[in-house]
Amino acid sequence: MAVDVEPYPARVPWTHGRVAGWLTTTDHKRIGILYISTSLFFFVAGGILALLMRAQLATPNESFITKDSYNELFTMHGTTMVFLVVVPILAGFGNYLVPLMIGAKDVAFPRLNALSYWLFVLGGVVLYSSWFASGGAPKAGWTSYVPLSVQTQGNGQDLWILSLHVLSVASFIGAVNFLVTIWRMRTAGMSRMRMPLFVWTIEAYSALLVLVLPALSAGLTLLLLDRQVGTHFFLPGEGGSALLYQHVFWFFGHPEVYVMILPAMGIISEVLPVFSRKPIFGYTAIALATAGIAVISLFVWAHHMFATGIPIGLQAFFMISTMLVAVPTGVKIFNWLATTWRGNLLFSTAMLFALGFIAVFTLGGLSGVFLAVFPFDWDVHDSYYVVAHLHYVLFGGSIFGIFAGLYYWWPKMFGRVLDERIGKWQFWLTFIGFNVTFFPQHMLGLLGMPRRIYTYDHGGLWEGYNLASSIGSGIMGLGVLLFFVNVIVTRRRGERAANDPWQGDTLEWYTTSPPPPENFDGPLPYVTSSRPLRDIRRRLKEMRHL
């Protein structure tokens, strides 16, 4: 049932300016755009860090970057991509789309929503200010394992902790907001089983964040206390436990992986049917698979710890729970494939990224099954095999999904369609560059290259694969650059978008592009299926025939 949102407080005049309007906004659409653009900014920053690392690793014994700087680079790259790019950009999509998709005027708590965004900005500023801290940026890895992160000198590590604390609060507020919005503000007729699949995934994203962020906050607090006031939670020399931190971190950290992939899967589930001119195959199965993945993800954390010597019985448990994730994930992949079967496929850029997602995410899922098998994990844990796997899932998965979403919803957000010609070039460069970068890293891992080393002196295959990987990263960089070129070109002379340029299925296409402040000008139709827009189009057609 729809619940009336409290009317906005009267807005004082100075908040109406062009810039002030954005700074003081509580409109979910504007906040969504702010989230997305800020995340894209950090995406560029994190990407540059990655390119610097690949430049250093292109050839053996390179001295382009010093050891210390390299350690800062991978720490900041990982932290940026997880906390400042993928999680918040998905929050941006959620912010923009959830109220539109469920037919609400805004999110449940618009001002909390603004608070969440500004805390995210603050967290990003705090993290990046660490480059100027005494001792430089944090350099203990994005996981900041103890005791190393306790012993690391300088304030970079403390700023890392502070930043993550702030970002956790931001995410937590955002997640609660999404949950209340989804649970309380759906328009008439939109039962749970008629919600767009993207909304399902934002619900799972939020539920997971609410459940696991407190664990991260607790772990970070203990780490901060260990560093600053000499508590000894994590120092074995003083009676603490080094493994405790890993359990706490991964209890948060693994569900976080699903936080980052589920909404991207949601985007794929929206894009594929529209460009196949078919309903999604097995809506119920995909919705339940989303919930299933979220639940199982809470019980897999110690598969990051197979090499720490935890008891074999536990390793077996975590192997089986991890393998279980593959089942609902497989269901999704096969259902997506079946969605394209006998469709009328239009290869827009959004569709290309969605199809590309299926092509590469499958590989990331399969290497995940390898890693779940703990004796094999003993071989390749902490090697480039894991780096390959996680990028197949997070770049080939999340980022491909995000680009599909950007191309698909850009017309709704900005009223102009992103240039399709540049878009296709971007897709192919990104797709090829991605595979050239990350596929050889599987082999590097099997050959014995550990993660997080700033150089190596092996020639032969190590050299070849590393060089290929670095070349690939350059190609991928060009691809991403094209996206920003596209944004500028489209802003200047992009094709104007109608309300429903793709013949979509969901309610966001029922309003103007971009939508008015409270989203819909008139009353919404009673929702009778998970594809309300198609229902309307069909009814209009029938009326014309009468």
């Binding site: 080094a242 902490d382 550990p450 295959l461």
Partner: protein
């Protein structure tokens, strides 16, 4: 459009060929390195078992994907021409839920079948009984201790065809490292205050290199290790000779310590690197001050020798004397 597709396909094929060329130059890196130990062998067989299913699933997905893309492409149909409005198919969906479950069960069963041979240390091998020793990961070197007290740094000699059971740990105030010789198979973390175990049986003589796999600080990449597999009789005589040499101070332990422990930060010539110049430092001329700094560290320097025994300390001091001493 066509030209661009051709161009991109060509680019893809070239990239693939380049990769394949590099890959075929050696054993390619398409399977775990080695394997040169029975447990590594069994892990590799698990790898191939999973690999078979993975290729099967991968091909199904990618072939179907490409097939559908080609077959159901738009082909000038109007945009609103819909495909058949199929909403699902219960039996199909059950099938692609159940088949993966069966595959995963098969993988789990095979893993548990191979597991005892991977984790249980045999009590003896073809060339003699099990050898027990200690491995310690320290910032930024590996220290090996044999049952008779012989110590080695970074390079460890192991008898061929004899199971070696290693207790792997780190000094209580150190950080986490991970002991990994890829060709010999599994790795295990070296965690302060948390002893772990691992075993190998080096199958043939040779040199097997590896390095620390858990990020441990500024010299993580320099924390290399070498296992020298040597025939058991030679190993036995080396070990007893080395024990005598280390007892009377005539071994090269001091040199190993300097190269493995000091030189990574202070340079092989002692003239400094990450750490300061020590070649001319008065500090190393005095046994007590050397011992203090090695045991306790200073500033950015970790306590590299917090748990060294007196013999190790003496060996380092006399080597430094010989190498940089004012008297020489």
């Amino acid at each position: 459009m066509r030209a661009r597709v051709l161009f991109l396909t060509g680019l893809l094929i070239l990239a693939a060929l380049a990769l394949a060329g590099v890959a075929l130059a050696d054993d390619g890196g398409f399977a775990p390195a080695g394997p040169d130990s029975p447990n590594a062998n069994r892990i590799e067989s698990i790898y191939w078992f999973v690999f078979g299913f993975a290729v099967f699933i991968f091909l199904i997905v990618e072939v179907a994907l490409v097939l559908f893309i080609v077959k159901y492409r738009n082909r000038g149909r109007p945009r609103d021409a819909e495909g058949p409005q199929v909403r699902g198919h219960v039996n199909l969906e059950l099938a692609w839920t159940a088949i993966p479950v069966l595959i995963l069960i098969a993988i789990a069963i095979f893993t548990f079948y191979k597991l005892p041979g991977i984790k249980d240390v045999p009590s003896a091998g073809a060339a003699g009984p099990q050898l027990r020793m200690n491995v310690e990961g320290k910032q930024f070197y590996w220290q090996f201790t044999y049952p008779n007290g012989v110590i080695a740094i970074d390079t460890v000699r192991l008898p061929v065809q004899r199971p070696v059971r290693m207790e792997v740990t780190a000094p209580i105030n150190d950080v986490i490292h991970s002991w990994w010789i890829p060709a010999l198979g599994p790795k295990i973390d070296a965690i302060p205050g948390h002893p772990n175990h691992i075993w190998y049986e080096v199958e043939k003589p040779g040199s097997y290199v590896g390095q620390c796999a858990e990020f441990c600080g500024i010299q993580h990449a320099a924390m290399r290790a070498t296992v020298e597999g040597i025939p058991a009789p030679q190993f036995d005589s080396w070990l007893s000779n080395e024990a005598r040499a280390q007892a009377d101070g005539s071994s090269n332990l001091g040199e190993q310590e300097f190269n493995g422990v000091c030189a990574k930060c202070h340079g092989l010539d002692g003239k400094g690197g990450i750490g300061p110049d020590i070649a001319t430092s008065a500090l190393i001329q005095n046994k007590d001050s050397l011992e203090t700094i090695v045991r306790e560290g200073r500033g950015l320097m970790p306590a590299v020798g917090e748990d060294w025994n007196q013999r190790q300390m003496d060996a380092l001091f006399s080597y430094l004397q010989k190498r940089f001493g004012s008297g020489s």
